[in-house]
Assembly symmetry: C2
């Protein structure tokens, strides 16, 4: 689904105004019917005999996915991965604004990274509650991920994206998404082994 956005934004840059499900399917590497089913799901956006208006379609998809607004994010763990996330252009572009960065390393506290002052993790609750934070990103080493999650839960954050390679326990009402690099490499190893 995210692929659609990526491809459609590419088309917008090329100033292509209309696209057919067939052409779009080609670029997204999926079946044309798939696309028509998906797009029909949130309203009739295509024009028969013509195709889809790229700009309108993008707006509709963004609305449907809930990214027609900004999402306030915070990040815990200003290591290399944390810095990569703080500097990641596309996140901010898509409305995922990392408002604050936390770390428990005294050497990092006070440092500025990509326009953010690094704040002590113990002050997370206090700081995060001043602003309504929607999503927390964990980019700590695995052994500190649970603690980061606990801080986030205490601040009332309901969505956690965990980049640390470990599972975390959260209360029922919190949604966790895991981003695990190893899994991608495992999947690649499997595909290379079973041609």
């Amino acid at each position: 689904m995210g692929v659609y956005i990526q491809v459609l934004e590419g088309l917008l840059l090329q100033e292509q105004q209309v696209i057919s499900s067939e052409k779009l399917a080609e670029q997204c590497e999926v079946n044309p019917s798939q696309i028509r089913k998906d797009l029909a799901y949130f309203g009739e956006f295509g024009v028969r005999g013509v195709g889809y208006y790229v700009s309108d379609l993008l707006k509709a998809i963004k609305y449907f996915l809930g990214i027609d607004r900004n999402w306030n994010c915070i990040l815990v763990g200003v290591g290399n991965l944390g810095r990569a996330l703080l500097r990641h252009q596309q996140l901010a572009q898509k409305g995922f604004q990392i408002q604050m960065a936390f770390d428990c390393d005294p050497f990092k506290i006070g440092e500025r990274v990509a326009g953010h002052e690094v704040i002590c993790t113990r002050r997370l609750k206090e700081k995060a509650q001043q602003m309504q934070i929607d999503i927390g990103l964990i980019s700590t080493p695995p052994e500190r991920a649970q603690r980061a999650a606990n801080h986030m839960m205490q601040a009332g954050i309901k969505g956690i994206v965990n980049f640390a390679p470990t599972r975390i326990n959260v209360s029922q009402d919190v949604i966790v998404d895991y981003v695990d690099f190893s899994n991608h490499l495992i999947s690649m190893a499997f595909r290379l082994s079973h041609p």
Copy 2:
């Protein structure tokens, strides 16, 4: 599938020798039948009335997934994300050894990161062919991802994991896997918007 490994390795550390599909399902957050089906797929590894022997099961899964061996990897793009990958303990632990790191920035060439000398990307083919490289990791900015992929293809690499937020074109016989952070945040936004 990678979840099984993560959880089983956790159990191994806790020196738990046997686990039932029910308990394993709980930790992996899936249905017990799911697990039994999956595990039965590559042989009868469970013992009725008892459960699965953790250590044997792990070996069987690793064999099945093709990670009972080492995979030689290279990385292109020694920015923050590249450094995070080079320092990522679990990748090496799982047999994904990043053998060389490349970058086109003259200021980075020659630098040592996590025990690797950063090499000029133009020398990739020459260097990578000396060692049989299985997998290439791209952690460049998006505008340089395609070039990195081209270098990898010229060196005969058949598996590419692309961390840059852009699609790349590769020849038929090359497998590409995309790791896109934005997609995870989009999925989170969607789940938070549709409770």
